[in-house]
């Protein structure tokens, strides 16, 4: 069985400050992990993915995530938030394309 927990349903940051969106996963095997972003009225878009190559994964728009097996975490970070980053973010764990499990999402608000 696999599951993913996004620890914060809402995160607010000021523009120009760092972003941290937290995700913990549970899996009995070596999972693939993803972060997707959903802007209002738009489809989900892949930000980045971890597939056991490198533990620090760089994605689009300056986001990156670090896979920490000892902590079963895959937190998403960005050094400096931009207004356009305001959206909902989903952490996803995958055993195979048949078994994608989405977290419940974190709504990121960026304040001017």
């Amino acid at each position: 069985a696999q599951s993913v927990t996004q620890l914060d349903s809402h995160v607010s940051v000021s523009e120009g400050t760092p972003v941290l969106l937290r995700c913990n996963y549970s899996s009995s095997y070596s999972p693939s992990l993803f972060w997707y972003v959903q802007h209002p009225n738009k489809g989900l878009q892949l930000l980045l993915k971890y597939t056991s190559a490198a533990t620090l994964v760089k994605g689009i728009n300056g986001f990156e995530a670090e896979f920490k097996k000892s902590e079963t975490s895959f937190h998403l970070t960005k050094p400096s938030a931009h207004m356009s980053d305001a959206a909902e973010y989903f952490c996803v764990v995958s055993r195979s394309a048949r078994q994608l499990t989405f977290g419940s999402g974190t709504q990121l608000t960026v304040l001017p």
């Binding site: 489809g43 989900l44 878009q45 993915k49 989903f90 394309a97 048949r98 977290g103």
Partner: protein, 115 residues
Amino acid sequence: EAGVAQSPRYKIIEKRQSVAFWCNPISGHATLYWYQQILGQGPKLLIQFQNNGVVDDSQLPKDRFSAERLKGVDSTLKIQPAKLEDSAVYLCASSLDLGANEKLFFGSGTQLSVL
């Protein structure tokens, strides 16, 4: 590159009515998914096709939901009869293949309100 197309964008129906959603995946993508996203929750897989065959429909409420992908390209998802708890956004996604690391491309979704 054209994305995943879905229609309609919004649909409002009364309970016990029927409704159908349409999806056209990205050209060449063999795998097509239908997800249900209830407000405040992450998407939940309803059904997955590989070409025109069903790979996984274990979470599809088959007494009221049906889906088909007859020619292995576009797909329709139907609900008959609808219940209040079916109010959600229905997302279609596609990918090149079934691999564990395949990137999914999502459509904008159909927002269904059942009154």
